[in-house]
Symmetry: C2
Amino acid sequence: MRQDKILNIPAIRRMPTYLHKLLKMQAEGKVSVSSTELAEYMNIELIVVRKDISLTGISGQRRIGYDVNELITYIKNYLGWQDTIPAVLIGAGSLGTALLGYNDFELYGFNISHVFDSDPEKIGKELYGRTVRSVEDMKICFAANPPEIAVICVSNSAAQQIADKLVELGIRYIWNFANVSLKVPPHVVVQREVIAGGLAMLAVKRKQNNAVNR
Amino acid sequence: MRQDKILNIPAIRRMPTYLHKLLKMQAEGKVSVSSTELAEYMNIELIVVRKDISLTGISGQRRIGYDVNELITYIKNYLGWQDTIPAVLIGAGSLGTALLGYNDFELYGFNISHVFDSDPEKIGKELYGRTVRSVEDMKICFAANPPEIAVICVSNSAAQQIADKLVELGIRYIWNFANVSLKVPPHVVVQREVIAGGLAMLAVKRKQNNAVNR
């Protein structure tokens, strides 16, 4: 994996939350939004919101706020989410099912078109409009619809084998929900998702509170 | 919510991943670990690993590496994870089920003892050793076993109502997986988990690669 330095990690992780709010405002017909309004929604400081938004390159108009449509465009450009990104998901267990049911992915242009599993009891099942297919079908399926991103939701013990197969089939971006460090060639990018990361954040806030209240 | 500034967010989010690796090494009988080994596992730069670990207050011994047991203790202390934190989960859908099946929580002292749902079809079901109970039972159940953290895995539309109920019952820490900004009194801390945050990270890496290859 290329070790390009990614700066502003917390800001990048917040972008989908801004987008979620802005798309909702757009649907409600709102045309402008102030940074104060966004700070309240995000539950973070005003200066952090302004910094986050300035990353997208939009020119701020502090008095009247940001144009909702324009800010959506700038955030999507910043993330490279202007176009649809074809994706597949491997592992139709409870976590995989939860991700397939996540409504916002489509709004972000993230389109999970196919779902694969190796469990004969799951193959053939319908999950949010997709039929679960055998992992054996990946090759033929990828040839017809080459995906850019593969989401790994299999067990920890099966994850490396699935990753090897995905790399062999030309996948360059892996979003890994298994709790393992995947070994991949340098041209493949892995984003490891550790659910407990949020719990660590909550734990630190709890510890700070306990220290204050002691 | 008290707006205490939390610094080092990416480092905090990485702590459970270090802990996962270290606990595994401990189980395998390894006594020391080098920062190089951790950097390779984490797929991040060596200097970042050293900075992360220095946050815990452990004194580094660069030549022989860190003592595995000691580093585990320091990380747990840093996160306030020395003792068991009693927790409950509301919403026994696919995401809630996935969280209940997450093996590492127990190792982190995060103990989800009870699961609640409002769906009569789910109440009474067994999920990883817990029986799903009605949300109506929360009051009586909390009185007997007061939880510190509540995990919200209900639908976006039901989340605020559940949060209100939890606050009324004395919960001070909420780990919120619903995609909504919860309104809570200032003494209650909410950690909102946005799954798409990781997707944004992957998207930015993809955009950087595409820019280089163009």
